[in-house]
Amino acid sequence: MKMKKMAALLLALAMLLALAACGGNNAAQDSSDPGTSGTPGTDSGTQTPAQTPESGTIELSYWYAMDGVGGQIIEKQIDAFNQTTGAEKGIHVTGVYQDWPGTNALTAAMTTDDTENMPDVIHMFSEYVNLIQDWERTVWAEDYITASGAAVSKDDLIPNTVEAYSIGGKMIGVPYAISALLLYYNQDQLTQAGFDAPPATIDEMARMLPALKEKTGAEYGLNVRLDQFEFENFIVTQGAAGTYFGNNQSGHAGQMTELSSQEAIQAFLTEWEKVIASGAYKETKDSMNEEFAQGLNSMCIMSSARIPTINDLVGDSFQWGVAAIPKVSASDVGGAYPSGSGLFMIDRGEPARVEAAWEFVQYLISADTQAMWLDGCGYVPINVHAEEAETYQSAISTEPRLSVPFDILKNTPGSVVSSFCPDNQTVNTVIQDSMLNFAGGSASKEETYAAITDGIADAFADYFRANPID
């Protein structure tokens, strides 16, 4: 009997909620202007005013793919815009979190041309640029950043970050949350092993590793898993002015259809073989931050975005520093390519929205807003004037290591950029598996080279069979 009552109660509740759900939809639609506002909603939890012709407020939807501290900083940036420039110009932005890589919902909306449920601005990692490169709704940033009256110009941005988001010399998007690959080193262990400074080349590093393992409490001298990100950094920083990973300037002057860095890959593998032979190299990625912070690994190679995390974990336990990753050859340009993510504008069919989106994008790449990254994140402010911002100066005085990736990127030539690599997920798997086999001893240098080049060629062939070039 009780069961019957409970079932009846549950059913009644379910029907009530179903009705409420359907009713809520109409109310939601009524409160927004369906013609102009696709995703009115909340900003940091507060209900936003509906867009009405009377208020003249343009509601923008901004999708971002960053969680944790990064996501919190993005929400702060949105709030700051809404309270300042947005309030002044009648623009209100709603942040929408999309889990990494943030492209699933976009792909669905693109496939169906669902303009009502598209973002006006999307934060996307550079490896996914291929997705929107030929899409008719992509608004190229070039047309806006070069227009007279633009608050931010290309000259205000770090040159290689501009190149990193350019195709054929034109910016498809703008750099936003940028980091650089760095060598993190335990200064105390280096000193203990008899070294004054971190290694400048891979060869030098390979010679240091056994001493670090033997003379300190470290289990390994170096920890890094070579995914595409790390591998490609070692390739593109070779040569006097950098090396393109693929043809057509790695996809920045047309579609990248094949590898063009075979010699650089050979050179890198030759040097890396020495690291493996040292017997003090850990090739897997477990808990890199914590292992380094506990002195288990004397050095590791990670994104600059982890500087604040490492600082928190290490505390006063030991002295540590960050430096540019070791060069393959001493004569190489070195440095790092600007990795991370950019901002891309989407035309949802209304020019006014695109103009408003550009106002928002300009705000996000302004010196002051970019300096906000340093408040808990290790992203590099891409605006060269960020150095003048009070937030920047305050953050750098507290944590001087945050200036290292900024300086590295400023001094790395524009030709050192990441590739717009087709099917980057498969390419990443090919590189990761091949380098793990190499480090584990189950593949020779020659076999590793063949596995990487053939694997990537196969991945590209599959990709272009499904996505033929017009």
Partner: protein, 274 residues
């Protein structure tokens, strides 16, 4: 007698070991949710928090609207589970107690839907929901979870165990088909109904991709989406994620605890003749 007792004890020991193997990750996740970051990732391994803290739970509640997300998940899981029970039992009733043309084909088609991977239908479902204007609504999120061929199959198999003579006897007593369904069939199928309900509830509660796709408003997000907001790509934020996962587990555990006795009592009904 001794041999039987020994076998019994061994079986129980094996069961306890199996249960611990299954439960250990959950129990450790719960324990880790009370640990400080430095206690989770350390060379000394702690099964219990050496310095218990509520900081992870505070972070889960302050950095995301997890209570709201749980409310959304609960509403969605409840609606879907109730509707699934109703639709599956009715469909199963027709498949097992009625004879009509095309019955076998219809049932085969129903089963065939199990073989279609849900991912294949995502875009088409998105188009439908978007064109119906159901984005950011409970109706839009629930719509694709309202019926399950698995549930229909399970209930049909259960209904087939009932003798047709039971229905004929009820007809002789003046019962209509609906009365037979509601007054006789469903009450005696209580364990299966509850199993379907619980199974649906847990399955819908754990959905991630679809609710993420059809919601662009923070207040419409579900708890599984909320948990992903607690992680951090650049650090190992295990504590807050474990706290979020522990919070998300509570309703499913409660539902299970609430209905467990009824499943057992339902299964025991008629098992022993007194």
């Amino acid at each position: 007698m001794n041999e039987r007792r020994t076998t019994n004890i061994m079986m129980q020991v094996i069961c306890v070991i199996c249960a611990l193997m299954v439960l250990f990750p959950i129990l450790y996740a719960f324990s880790a949710s009370f640990m400080r970051p430095e206690d989770i990732l350390t060379t000394s391994h702690y099964l219990l928090p050496p310095h218990p803290t509520l900081a992870n739970y505070i972070q889960a509640f302050t950095t995301t609207k997890i209570a709201r997300y749980m409310g959304n998940s609960f509403i969605i899981a409840l609606i879907c589970s109730c509707v699934r029970v109703i639709l599956a039992s009715m469909a199963a009733f027709s498949f097992s107690f009625y004879e009509f043309r095309g019955k076998r084909i219809l049932f085969a088609l129903t089963l065939a839907t199990i073989m279609i991977p849900p991912d294949v239908l995502v875009v088409q479902n998105y188009v439908t929901i978007s064109k119906m204007g159901l984005m950011n609504t409970y109706a839009g999120i629930c719509s694709i979870f309202l019926i399950s061929a698995n549930n229909i199959f399970l209930m049909r198999q259960n209904f087939l165990t009932f003798s047709r003579s039971l229905q004929e006897a009820s007809r002789l007593d003046g019962c209509s088909d609906l009365q037979f369904f509601f007054r006789i069939l469903l009450p005696v199928s209580r364990p299966v109904l509850i199993t379907v309900f619980m199974n649906s509830f847990v399955s819908v509660w754990n959905q991630y991709v679809w609710p993420m796709l059809v919601t662009t408003k923070d207040e419409m997000r579900t708890v599984q989406v909320g948990i992903t907001m607690l992680k951090d790509r650049e650090s190992s934020a295990f504590g807050p994620v474990m706290a979020g996962a522990s919070i998300a587990l509570v309703p499913t555990i409660l539902i299970f605890a609430l209905f467990l006795r009824r499943i057992v009592s339902g299964m025991m009904t008629g098992a022993v003749k007194e």
